[in-house]
Amino acid sequence: MCKVMIIDDESAIRKLLKITLEKEDLGLDIVGEAASGIEAINTIDNYKPDIAFVDIRMPFMDGIEFSKLAIKRYPRLKIIILTAFNDFEYARDCIGIGVCEYLLKPIAREEIRETLTKLMKEIKMEKKEEEWEEEIEGSSNSIAKIKEYIVINYQNPEINLSSIAQQYGFNPSYLSRMFKNKTGIGLNDFLTQYRMEKAISYAKKGKLMYLTAKEVGIPDPNYFSKCFKKYTGKIYSDYSRSSLFE
């Protein structure tokens, strides 16, 4: 089974793609969706996809930027760029950064099948050679350093489990497990928690949501609001409004 992640800012297209892939029955598992590159960076470590569909045009972090990061952090990740024909200039950049598959919109099932079949073969070959997980020992005092790193860099939207793991020479899964063992909370959750606490303090000051989002390293306000709601159980605007009246 190959794990697939769909990153597109239009929910209808994500859903369409999902339905299409399910109907094709290629032995794929759609493990996750993201409505922006920012969301994807924050969630990709949870899904660990083999293949990612990435829309080339997205706000806050477009498909190219995301792909650059992703290729650096997940060398085995197969990226399929979704593009409309007139974005060809854009698409050429993809070749420059090592992405070699792209699909033209509107989506044609035939093309999807061909591309996916080809990629799945490649993935099978690679998986035989080495496993996704590879344990690397790390010292426990690294945890404090990592926490410090997060406190310093939480505003950088590009950091996530993988980037931190890479930074400190850990295998991401290992780091995740180790971090949870030592601290009782996942690294990603820790990062989000830190960001949300910051956000709450901004919200209390009545700062506009999109600015707060940018401030705490989740410049996609849509994803930010999702995280905020999940974390606090409240809508940001409610939070900031109620805090204004206090």
């Binding site: 800012d9 239009e10 929910s11 209808a12 297209i13 859903k15 369409l16 339905i19 045009r57 706000p59 806050f60 409309a84 024909f85 007139n86 974005d87 033209l104 919109k105 509107p106 989506i107 506009l208 949501m209 999109y210 600015l211 989002a213 996609d220 306000p221 849509n222 930010f224 609001s225 605007s237």
Partner: protein
């Protein structure tokens, strides 16, 4: 009718080319000159000449009469010498004059008459009818003339004086037919004073001819009439003779004939004679006018014509021909070639005209280029907007959205979406016209927003506040949609919250205000400054403003207000 003619001539003249006008003007001037000359000639020169001729005629006539009378008094003297001659008296007094006496008388007559002119023959009659004579040429004598009492009495009644008559009043005539002027008198005895004879001196008509010889010329002829108004010595055109009417006045004259063939007829009763002298003079003005004057007039006319021709040449060389060439060159512009005239023209007003024309052409070409550039950039801006929307991105994404709807939602919703998409593109292309009513602009935006709402999960709320009266005003097409697109992508979507887009169309003073408001992230001052810069990504805005500016020919067509994090409002001011 007259007015009509004048107008026609006027129209004809003004329709002539400049060259033709100058030509006709010169012809007119030359004609006027000649007419004026003729007029002056007729009414001034002719009149004075005629007066002069008429006056001199009388003197001429008197002088002819004097000539004749002086000759006749010479003859009278001669006749006295004859009557006093002893041989003649002897012949007349002798009862029976023998051959000797008559011979003596003839000798005396020869001797005396020899020295006098004009004497053709002399007849000396005794009262008994015998006579002696001397003659030059053959003279036929009426033998019985002395028996005619009346003839004799008339001479006798002169009482020692003489009487004159033509051909001795019927007593003589020459065989040659030439008339004779007879000088006749009674001879009285010196002592008794009783008539003893009769003397007739026949004079040749030379005496008459010589009296006017000095006065005749080709144009002036004289004729003698006797007291019976019979022409004496000459032959005359019968038509002309009928014109000569002589009455009892001593002197009279009149003019006959037309302007160019004028004759003056005159007559004069010569005193102491039974003769009337008549004169016919042809008025020959060319003779009267001195030839020098004629030459001067001809010269003046020639000079005038030459100077007119010179002026004409000057006008032709320096004015009409350059203008004609200029016009020919300028005519090229008619065919749409705004090319400058490259002629070599004198550096005068016409040269300046050419330069001005060329300068004008340069200016026109510049203007055309400017217009062309403006038109080009306007079209480019319009095309950019079209491309931005027609580009597959919007269409393909929308199609995918609709594809999803088809799989998951009701067919009603799919139908609705496809209809909206169709409507949007139909209006968007708007049959290629450049301007469309505001109503259509709003409809495009409504469809557009409907489709965008499908794509972006209802993050957009739209509101419209439209003044119905203004919706049929035409504006350049697609000025609203690019602004709304900016509101979505650069305003609302970046905010992560549901946003409002409000379109307002209203009138303030003489302007239609089309306002696009969005509650998006807004702009800070720097962004506001950058929005009109060329390298700005949201060229939809810049292109739209440029098009409105160009279309209405004014710079001040919009106002932009924004507060960071709160809203952006673009207010288009369209002149009514």
């Amino acid at each position: 009718m007259k007015k009509h003619m004048v107008r026609r001539i006027k129209n004809w003249f003004s329709s002539q080319k400049l060259k033709g006008k100058v030509r006709y003007l010169f012809l007119g001037i030359i004609g006027l000159y000649i007419t004026l000359f003729i007029f002056i000639y007729i009414f001034f020169i002719r009149k004075s000449m005629l007066d002069y001729t008429l006056e001199s005629n009388y003197n001429t006539m008197i002088s002819i009469g004097n000539n004749l009378n002086s000759e006749i008094s010479t003859i009278n003297s001669m006749s006295k010498l004859l009557t006093a001659d002893s041989n003649i008296n002897t012949y007349l007094l002798k009862d029976k004059p023998g051959t000797r006496y008559s011979h003596n008388a003839i000798t005396s007559m020869y001797d005396i008459t020899n020295t006098f002119n004009y004497v053709s023959s002399v007849y000396l009659y005794r009262l008994d009818g015998r006579y002696v004579h001397i003659t030059n040429g053959i003279t036929i004598v009426n033998q019985y003339i002395l028996d005619e009492e009346e003839w004799f009495r008339e001479i006798a009644n002169a009482r020692g004086g003489y009487i004159l008559g033509v051909n001795g009043r019927g007593a003589f005539f020459r065989k040659s037919g030439k008339p004779l002027v007879s000088f006749m008198r009674i001879i009285n005895d010196i002592e008794t004073q009783e008539p003893i004879g009769l003397m007739v001196i026949n004079l040749s008509d030379e005496i008459l001819n010589d009296s006017y010889k000095d006065m005749t010329s080709n144009d002036k002829q004289f004729y003698y009439y006797d007291k019976n108004l019979k022409l004496i010595n000459q032959i005359i055109d019968s038509k002309l003779e009928s014109e000569i009417v002589i009455n009892n006045k001593l002197f009279d004259q009149k003019t006959i004939g037309s302007l160019w063939n004028e004759k003056i007829l005159s007559y004069y009763h010569i005193p102491n004679t039974p003769f009337i002298i008549a004169g016919i003079e042809k008025m020959s003005y060319m003779h009267i006018i001195p030839s020098e004057a004629t030459w001067i007039i001809v010269l003046l006319i020639m000079l005038t014509i030459i100077s007119l021709i010179l002026i004409g040449l000057f006008i032709s060389v320096y004015i009409t021909t350059p203008i004609e060439r200029l016009v020919q060159s300028m005519d090229i512009a008619k065919r749409g070639w705004l090319r400058r005239v490259s002629l070599k023209l004198p550096d005068d007003e016409i040269g300046h005209l050419k330069n001005s024309y060329n300068n004008m052409l340069v200016a026109i070409n510049q203007l055309i280029n400017e217009l062309l550039e403006n038109e080009k950039s306007m079209q480019k801006a319009e095309l950019d907007v079209l491309q931005e929307q027609i580009k597959p991105h919007f269409l393909y994404n929308t199609l995918d959205t609709i594809a999803y709807l088809a799989l998951k939602e009701s067919s009603e919703k799919v139908y609705d979406s496809i209809e909206t998409l169709g409507n949007f593109y139909r209006r968007f292309l708007s049959k290629g016209s450049k301007v469309i009513p505001i109503r259509e602009e709003v409809a495009i935006v409504k469809d557009y927003l409907k489709l965008q709402k499908l794509r972006y999960d209802d993050i957009i709320q739209d509101e419209y506040d439209l003044c119905e009266d203004l919706l049929d005003v035409h504006v350049p097409k697609l000025i609203l949609q690019p602004l709304v697109e900016n509101s979505i992508y650069h305003g609302i979507r970046l905010k992560g919250e549901k946003g409002l887009i409000k379109i307002t169309v209203c009138q303030i003073d003489d302007f239609i205000h089309i306002v696009v408001y969005d509650s998006g992230v807004g702009m800070n001052k720097e962004q506001l400054k950058q929005i009109m810069q060329d390298n700005n990504k949201s060229f939809g805005f810049k292109g739209t403003i440029e098009r409105i500016r160009y279309y209405y020919g004014k710079e001040d067509v919009f106002e932009i207000k924004s507060e960071e994090g709160l809203y952006t409002q673009i207010d288009l001011k369209i002149p009514l």
